[in-house]
């Protein structure tokens, strides 16, 4: 199948390139959070991002370089009298817990794949309904293919369904799998072949016919004629003119289709 996803570029690493972020014991993180909020939060902020008196610890080089409390332990135990930080007579376990809490908070800030998208349902559902009536009803129906769609997906996933729909789905009776892309190859003899594209480049086009047969053709300056059809072209074209407000409104409407 032709990959429509973009290639991975630049300094934006894939999750794979970054590797799994080692997670500490959740119970230790929870204990560390409790100790931290009680004793340190007043100055450093309950989220450790800094307060009126204490610096942001998620950007602290001492904390970043710390391993299992080895670097922050002495600071906690001795305090920083010159900077007004008192000493805290914590046990090694408590210091380890605080270290685990801080490193968990740092990895949550650094690991953008783990960021949680907040409430995106802010639009006007009525306006969204009007947009739907004006743009979507020639293909979709809220009593047919989209019946109950608001109950089937989280809002972000639902929004993604119209901004970048899946290129395969099931439809018809009996239900059968469908691919958004089809390709038709017409030979100089007039014979033509239509199917799901398997490969498409300047030198070759290959497809799988509805029968399951695989066909491959050499491409050159003199043909064959190759036509690609995308059943979701409307959704691609939509991106060139839909406004952010219309995206929010349409999302708000689709969410109501429970």
């Amino acid at each position: 199948m032709i990959a429509t996803a973009m290639l991975a570029f630049g300094q934006t690493p894939s999750p794979e390139a970054r590797g799994p972020v080692p997670k500490s014991d959740p119970a230790s993180i929870a204990r560390g959070r409790e100790s931290f909020v009680g004793a340190c939060g007043f100055c450093h902020g309950s989220n450790a991002k800094g307060g009126e008196k204490g610096p942001d610890l998620l950007r602290s080089v001492i904390v970043l370089d710390d391993e299992h409390g080895k670097a922050i332990g002495p600071v906690i135990l001795r305090g920083r009298p010159d900077k007004g930080m008192p000493r805290f007579p914590y046990s090694p376990q408590q210091i380890l817990d605080i270290s685990n809490f801080l490193h968990d908070a740092i990895s949550n800030a650094a690991d953008r794949d783990s960021y949680k998208i907040l409430n995106i349902v802010t639009g006007d559902a009525k306006l969204g309904q009007a947009y739907f009536s004006g743009h979507c009803v020639s293909c979709h129906s809220v009593t047919g293919d989209l019946k109950g769609i608001g109950a089937r997906y989280e809002p972000v996933t639902l929004q993604g369904k119209f901004l970048q729909p899946d290129s395969t789905w099931t439809e018809g009776t009996p239900p059968h799998p469908v691919n958004a892309f089809s390709v038709t190859v017409t030979l100089p003899t007039g014979n033509s072949f239509t199917g799901v594209p398997v490969n498409y480049d300047d030198f070759n086009v290959s497809l799988r016919e509805p029968s399951g047969a695989y066909r491959s053709f050499k491409r050159g300056k003199d043909g064959p004629r190759v036509e690609i059809h995308n059943r979701l072209q409307f959704h691609l074209d939509l991106l060139m003119h839909i406004s952010d407000a219309e995206i929010h409104n349409l999302t708000a409407y689709l969410v109501t289709l429970k």
């Binding site: 630049g10 690493p13 998620l58 800030a109 639009g123 901004l163």
Partner: protein, 548 residues
């Protein structure tokens, strides 16, 4: 005795001078390469145009495979092992480690190249390994490595855990290594060091946390630091401080230096593109233009002092580094000889500057999907639309964070006057996820929203107009490019092909199917009087030639 071991043994014991003793003549660095490829871009200009024409439009159809070299990474039986990290439990699994993104150096018949934690010398005549060096890592993101720099017999490369490592080119033995940044602050290093005079210029990367970017110059003999240039001001009163709200924001403001720059020996200036500001996708805590992030800067190569800057993305909130190659072009405009600098920027615009002053001469859009700018200011800068900065409920933006183009090297052909670049057209939704007044890291999430394919574009540097364009509906896009006086353009298509185009009109003249997509910038050189084209695709290096 297998053949690889045999060659290694020969190098080590018998005839090091004959096979491995390969001194780089510093003069090679200041004239266009023909019988060598002595620095990342082949020469200092970044044009990636070769004056060689032995392989040309009339014989390119006879271009044929000479050899393939497949890399084996990690602690292989013959590997020379260095590094500060623990012995790894198994072979490296990051795909970046086994992907050749570097442009190999070719000096006196030997190719030198690297991937994250690994470096090789390969006999350019036979495609056989001469030595392999591997580095035990302390961590860092292993996404890619752009290659090596060379001074005399000494090689330099950077590691994901931010060491500058120097090797003896003859043997692959380590001379020294110096830590340049802290891996625990999420720095990771990918650039190819650029050697200018007795300066080894090294940058770094990493924007997961909010750390400052810099460029360093090191002494090639000792590795000692000569100067350091920070890409954001350090304190109030420093140049550019008025473009940040406070010292705290500028010291956590990013601006990574993750691609090699270019150099003009007459102006004595090193030209470098800097990366995005931090936090990456939200600008609430860093109001202002955030100099010198997302900027093209000109630095005095002896002092690191800033001569001028131009900022393609003021107050960037979409991860659009201006790190792409600043290509140096000498041409005549309106009867006047001009020293220019051109950049195809990740933000979707093409820029031409006067490289003596940094003044903008031309700003032109490269892609039709772009929707983030309200126009061009009188000084040639795009004007960001604040309505396209991430919100909680999301905004639709083109290009996405990956950009209209990216690191793969473009090319300028002085014979056509066209600048060639691979572009990509797509949208993404940007959702603000960190609503704190002091967001950290990226601060927002991105979701793909529609892909319109990639293009190989030929841009007229005098008008900014697209002279011709080759569209790939399902792939292609930002891919490395080489042009030659043989009236050929070499690049890849995202479908595993190496292709030769006619640079004048975009006709395809030749192609070959490789085992993977082109993953580096193609290069060319003359060896034993014969011209070669060398490309990296995945874990393999391919050499092509026309047999006499």
């Amino acid at each position: 005795m297998n053949s690889i071991f045999f060659v290694s043994a020969l190098c080590a014991a018998l005839i090091p001078a004959a096979i491995c003793g390969q001194t780089l003549d510093p003069a090679l660095l200041t004239r266009p390469a023909t019988d060598s490829w002595p620095t990342y871009h082949g020469d200092y200009s970044g044009r990636r145009f070769s004056t060689l024409s032995q392989i040309n439009r009339s014989n390119v159809r006879h271009l044929t495979l000479s050899w393939i070299f497949r890399i084996k990474v990690g602690i292989t039986p013959n590997a020379i092992v260095g590094g500060e990290g623990p012995i790894p439990e198994g072979p490296p699994s990051d795909p970046g480690v086994s992907t050749i993104k570097s442009t190999p150096l070719m000096v006196n018949g030997v190719l030198y190249f690297s991937t994250p934690d690994n470096a090789w010398a390969v006999d350019a005549r036979s495609g056989r390994e001469i030595w392999h060096y591997t580095w035990k890592t302390r961590g860092g993101i292993h996404i890619g490595n752009r290659g090596m720099g060379m001074f005399g017999d000494w090689l330099f490369f950077e590691t994901p855990d931010n060491y500058l490592v120097s090797l003896d080119a003859r043997t692959g033995k380590e001379r020294w290594h110096k830590e340049i940044a802290d891996v625990k602050q999420e720095y990771f290093s990918t650039p190819a060091p650029i050697v200018v005079g007795n300066h080894v210029l090294v940058g770094t990367g990493g924007d997961s946390l909010d750390v400052p970017g810099f460029l360093e110059s090191h002494d090639p003999e000792t590795g000692e630091i000569q100067w350091k240039w920070w890409s954001a001001p350090l304190k109030k009163g420093d140049p550019g401080f008025e473009t940040w709200p406070d010292e705290y924001a500028m010291r956590h403001g990013g601006g990574m230096t993750w691609l090699p720059g270019t150099y003009d020996p007459e102006l004595h200036l090193y030209f470098l593109g800097t990366g995005n500001p931090n936090p990456v996708l939200t600008g609430r805590s860093r109001k202002g233009d955030n100099l010198y992030t997302c900027s093209i800067v000109a630095l005095n190569v002896d002092t690191g002092k800033l001569a001028w800057y131009f900022q393609p993305s003021p107050h960037d909130t979409h991860d659009w580094d201006a790190a792409q190659t600043p290509v140096l072009i000498d041409t005549v405009i309106d009867g006047q000889p001009r020293k220019l600098l051109a950049q195809a920027n990740r933000n979707g615009y093409f820029f031409v500057l006067d490289r003596a002053t940094g003044k903008d001469i031309l700003t032109a859009p490269m892609i039709r999907t772009m929707n983030w700018s309200k126009g061009i200011s009188s000084n040639g800068q795009p004007i960001p639309d604040p309505g396209k900065e991430a919100t909680v409920d999301g905004v639709l933006v083109s290009p996405p964070t990956g950009g209209a183009t990216n690191w793969p090297p473009p090319s300028f052909d002085p014979e056509t006057g066209l600048f060639y670049v691979g572009t990509s057209q797509a949208f993404s939704m940007f959702y603000l996820t960190d609503t704190d007044p002091h967001p950290e890291g990226w601060g927002a999430a991105e979701r793909d929203a529609g892909y319109f394919g990639g293009d190989l574009e030929a841009i007229d540097i005098k008008t900014g107009k697209i002279a011709w364009d080759h569209h790939y509906p399902f792939g292609g896009g930002p891919v490395g490019i080489l042009t030659t006086a043989g009236k050929l353009l070499f690049t890849g298509d995202g479908s595993g092909h190496l292709m030769a185009f006619d640079p004048a009109n975009g006709d395809i003249l030749w192609h070959a199917g490789l085992a993977d997509d082109l993953s580096n910038g193609p290069e060319t050189y003359l060896l034993d009087g014969q011209q070669y084209i060398v490309v990296g695709a995945g874990d393999q290096l391919y050499a092509f030639t026309v047999e006499p």
